[in-house]
Subunit: 226 residues, 2 copies
């Protein structure tokens, strides 16, 4: 194993989960033509403490220069490389309902190292319909799209009832990473990496802050009254 | 300020961000008729260490019983209450393209303490169209839907170019929590809590793991050859 590989493997999962946030903050700085950034500024944009940011970036072998900070372009490259985004990952989206179509046309993927290569739906009536650059294909097309042994990410955007069937088909075709948007738990064989996206998670965090605020208002009233 | 309020305010942001994951894991246990769960099992389902789980739950005043663990129903209630999900939060969705429609019909919201109360779009041609239980309304309807001073969450599902305008309209109408799905940064006035959802974040984390795997395969090959 090369030193580089060993270093990559030592990045803790919690750090990996924060890297996309740093990349997003760096993207905004790049858009504003900012060339370098202090750990404090970058940490603030990403919503973490600067100590945590420095620790996270040290796992990438990236250390800011005292009084100068981090070079925006170089750090962007280092994080992109760590995440494996310096080349395009092929993405197959299954389920061409509203969510699948929204994901298919989501501008954020293309600029972030992903290329949607196929749109699939088991409803044969949809086959042949064009969406931007791609044509919706029936599920049989999966084996032609995925080459076992080559990296490919499968996105499940079907109703909950179909999600497990689709996961089985994706796994059988050789897809080793699955992102599940369907509102149900699915099982995948060993060797397949699966993440579940729950669109209500962010709403729940917002609700917490909204409640804190409501609590604060009531308290102020109580204090005024009391 | 009551002791209860003081306790609520002391929950660290990082803990708040993990609570939805615990709630999701508890929901799966409830579906399997599991009555109690050890901190190790629950931590494993939620993908955190059991030490972190116990620390997080201690902020809610919730401690497992040695040898028994946590009561699934009671812990579900405690986390729901901390997140403010024991009553329904009204949600207004703006932008009735594919993403807005997907969110409008997302089953996960209703079961998790949110109620979509209005669907808005600035395209007047869409006004009057029914989606499930609701009818799409023009943007003017916003002031009738939102009561300043009462909690309401606004969801922006418009194209990037309209997102700032919509955020301004939502803030002006009295919405104090905004969830932005548009692929652009927006500014909100002080007092408005905003979170941005980047649908590519989870893909980036998956890509990292896929790359680790590819790296591992190449290394094994190199070792075999070498």
């Amino acid at each position: 194993m090369s030193v580089d590989q060993a270093a990559k493997r030592d990045i803790p999962d919690a750090t990996v989960a924060r890297l996309p946030g740093y990349l997003r903050a760096l993207g905004q700085l790049t858009a504003q033509d900012v060339l370098s950034v202090s750990s404090e500024e970058l940490a603030h944009s990403a919503g973490v403490s600067s100590a945590k940011l420095r620790k996270d970036l040290s796992h990438l072998g990236s250390y800011g220069v005292r009084g100068v900070g981090y070079d925006v372009a170089h750090l962007t490259y280092q994080i992109s490389r760590a995440l494996g985004l310096t080349h395009d990952w092929p993405v197959v989206i299954v389920g061409m309902g509203n969510l699948g179509r929204a994901l298919a046309s989501y501008g954020g993927f293309a600029t972030k190292g992903f290329k949607v290569v196929a749109l699939l739906d088991r409803d044969r009536a949809l086959a042949g319909e064009r969406l931007d650059e791609l044509t919706i294909q029936p599920m049989d097309a999966l084996t032609a799209v995925v080459t076992p042994g080559e990296a490919c990410i499968g996105v499940i955007a079907t109703p909950a009832a179909s999600a497990q069937d689709v996961a089985d088909l994706l796994s059988a075709a050789g897809v080793t990473s699955i992102l599940n948007f369907a509102a149900t738990a699915i099982q995948v064989p060993e060797g397949v990496h699966m993440r579940k996206v729950d669109l209500s998670t962010e709403l729940q965090i917002l609700a917490f802050h909204e409640q804190q605020r409501s609590g604060a208002v009531s308290d102020d009233l109580l204090e005024e009254i009391g």
